[in-house]
Symmetry: C2
Amino acid sequence: MIELLTIGDELLCGRTPDANAAMIARELHAAGLAVQRITSTGDDPGRIAAALLSCLPGTRFMVVTGGLGPTGDDRTAAAAAAAFGDTLAEHPHALSMLEDALKKRRLPMNAPRRKQAMLPSTCTPVANPVGTACGFIMLHENRHYIFLPGVPAEARAMTEQFVTGYINEHAGRNHAISSRSLRVFGIFESAIQEALSTAPPLPDGVQLGFYPHFPEVMLRLTAHGPDADDVNRRLQQARDTIAGRIGEHVYAEGDMSLVETIAGLLAQRNASLSVAESCTGGLLCHLITGVPGSSNWFERGLIVYSNAAKTQLAGVDESILARHGAVSEQTARALADGVRACSGTTHALAITGIAGPGGGMPEKPVGTVFFAVAAPDGCSIHQRRFSGTREQIKLLSAYTALDLLRRCLLGSSVD
Amino acid sequence: MIELLTIGDELLCGRTPDANAAMIARELHAAGLAVQRITSTGDDPGRIAAALLSCLPGTRFMVVTGGLGPTGDDRTAAAAAAAFGDTLAEHPHALSMLEDALKKRRLPMNAPRRKQAMLPSTCTPVANPVGTACGFIMLHENRHYIFLPGVPAEARAMTEQFVTGYINEHAGRNHAISSRSLRVFGIFESAIQEALSTAPPLPDGVQLGFYPHFPEVMLRLTAHGPDADDVNRRLQQARDTIAGRIGEHVYAEGDMSLVETIAGLLAQRNASLSVAESCTGGLLCHLITGVPGSSNWFERGLIVYSNAAKTQLAGVDESILARHGAVSEQTARALADGVRACSGTTHALAITGIAGPGGGMPEKPVGTVFFAVAAPDGCSIHQRRFSGTREQIKLLSAYTALDLLRRCLLGSSVD
């Protein structure tokens, strides 16, 4: 069993989220090693020592970051010595690694830096491949304490190059762990639960985790057991069970985003895209252009906030705006057809709606949004009514437009 | 003494950094309330119960987030009941708050959602102003446990509107605490530190905190003492000292964003804005339209990813593109002048650059960005060279454009 302990006053005053803990947890998790608890404490040596000694009963490995640098508030080595009844001593091996690291950086040795070689006398120093402060290991009551510097790049390098292997080796593991991720849009967590409640149960020992990241949900399936083939077979079975219930909402597996999925579908079809957006105000284009290489298939975007812009840029007939209003299916259609025509792309998306908090009308309340997807074989119109903040309605609208395009592309043949 | 406990398997597998813990710690710190320890545990009810009971000896308040939603892995209420020898019961008040919240969102009640009103029988429910799952309070061995949902926007709203005040009240504090925030763009933390190192020292007992939130930095000044007038006098003095060194980079105080600052400056001047952006791909427009009411002063945006779009939409002469390239000061100027002319706005911004990771050239490497600010009295051109990821370069570019407009507006007279 593994615990993480992160040290630093900056964590307790919320200066930044604890990126080291997340990084180490992620790396260990990917290696099939489960973290049971994460604790953050300040720079006070008494509290550090107490945290080192208050492990969970089954903990065999504790990975500790922070407080190993040259400054006065770096007190982890002293706290570890105090906690484990040890004293600090200058380690010749730590000193020679420090000298090498300083030489490589053309930095002079001085007293604060030399302090980094003062470690608990019974510890084993561990090389830091990208910084000057080395890490170290201590054994206490059959537990392994692995101390790393808090500088994120150093903690990361040592985790990848040392920690994972060390724990795997000393845990004497002999079974397989694997996981698969399904990326879902258009159905919220509670509706997924309901859809799955009548599905066949997942195979034994397969865990399903929900990772909502508004407006999406990621589902993660994890399984373990003595046999790797059996683990993967059970994962596949679980995946198929879920896809059988909510498959249309699963837009990708693994690390692929919705825009990356669309980029792949467009490329297969030699297709291209332009956009006219009103209430989303640039968010749809921003999401699209977040993907490197989007300039290969994204031609232009029109942020048509005013009626004049809708008419001048996308050729929306003034009579449509006058008769049906800017937020209407007719305007959505005219925007999509207009931007598709002027840009010469195969496909176009248009969004017009009311993101709020102002601008709602009785027949078109805040959250009313019209979408148009223009393709070579015609233009389809869709209406939604979202609730939430302005930001949430913008996000839901932009993702919905992308998802409508995804479904349109899947329904069309590959070029 | 205050502790935080964050709950969720996703924290232990490093899916996301613990943003709730950082947010709550920051809010409490700003209110002069120090957090002593942060613990993260998984969704297992036994572990949640153990974490609730293994407080530090002096802890009087524990703020707990996560595991209050409608799904099967939301088990915090049951774990709290088990830990404190209580049982779950449907709370009429929690149920009526839930019904109201669902009605507001036009969502139907169902069994998973109704589960959110099942709380420990002795708890006191706390309203959630922005979501459906309410929070609750329990008292155990003279400690106050404050349970909040894990959805970040909900945890934030409840922390700001309830938690800080609750702790202050029950801690029986009787002295004044106040804080002021300065919002800074265009100078990084280390440069701020350096600029302040030669400034007069801050008044006694005034703490300065740095909260980097890329690409901005928020500076927070906090002071406390027996006398409110004295606290505010010292805060003002500290503010003036900082403004004396880095004042030009301080775009606002308090909760005002850069776009909100610009909205105010434009309104004072009866001015309006249009945008043409290339490498930022819609992000600038998205930031602008994130502010409610922006449709009063934002007329249109052109996302001119292709050369054809630059020519057709903003009237950039093809010879400019041929001679100087799309990423050039000439193109930036033509884009800003072009979108200002066709939209009829008083002001216009244009951005053209290379966000990477591809597209760099020896004389114009990735991160090269040109900006143009067009105003009634002419157009100014600016060049920057940023480093970072595609996303960072997009963010730095969009914020730089906004800051250039802010400085332009400040330099012009009020209409």
